[in-house]
Symmetry: C2
Subunit: 132 residues, 2 copies
Amino acid sequence: MEKKKRNTKTKQLVMSAFSKANAALCHEDIERQFAGQLDRVTIYRILQGFCDDGVLHKISSEGGKTYYALCHHCTHEQHNDEHLHFHCLACNRIYCLEVPAITVPLPPEYKVVAVSCIVSGYCIECSKTTNH
Amino acid sequence: MEKKKRNTKTKQLVMSAFSKANAALCHEDIERQFAGQLDRVTIYRILQGFCDDGVLHKISSEGGKTYYALCHHCTHEQHNDEHLHFHCLACNRIYCLEVPAITVPLPPEYKVVAVSCIVSGYCIECSKTTNH
DNA sequence: GTAACTGCAAAATATTTGCATCCTT
DNA sequence: AAGGATGCAAATATTTTGCAGTTAC
């Protein structure tokens, strides 16, 4: 039997950060944003809990850091993580790309379960304002 | 000016592990393989050094662990990390795929610098022997 | 001989666990 | 009231830094 989850003020705070951010956030981001307000350990647990609920999904950045992003297309049963992520090297934001999932041309003997993909470069806004 | 690197016995040991493995290895893998022989800190430094030299490249697995793999197509100047990696969920090996780099269909305003991609599933060997 | 490399100690970070208390339902 | 959630302390794990002794060149 699964634990019944509760809708606490603390969770709402964390969720609000994601709603506003419109980008993936890491533990450190949350901790900084709610410094003095939220305990470090609680944040770990809430982030993990949201992942278990299918509300957030984990993204391991190229640098090895773990980020979390809202799941817009995921359900509790099925994580739809096939979508790509973009990491802007200028503004350093990581967010989900709304492009169709890529298909990798592999020999048919392979059984593909998931594809995790991060494109890095310069996002639309940063391409305009910087000279990359 | 760049530091002159030396070809030490310790580095040769670590390199031999990669040559034999034919797969990506993490710090823990190396540490286990040479337990009592090599210092943990030395391994960290050698792995980082090999990356700086362009001999190894880093792979951040979906689980957030950092793996290292031999660069067969990379030079010191240019890391060719665009190639994909495969993570077998049965034998747990991570290795480079020899398939052409994927192209992600993004709006032209994006400037793409690199693509990091891990396909997970069941490799050819494990697809045969297990019933996935 | 010189400078890079190594190993040990220790510091700095990051993550997890236990438990008493608090708060949602 | 019951049980999940939180905060604090502490344990554990991971990575980095400093430094003295060692070794490749």
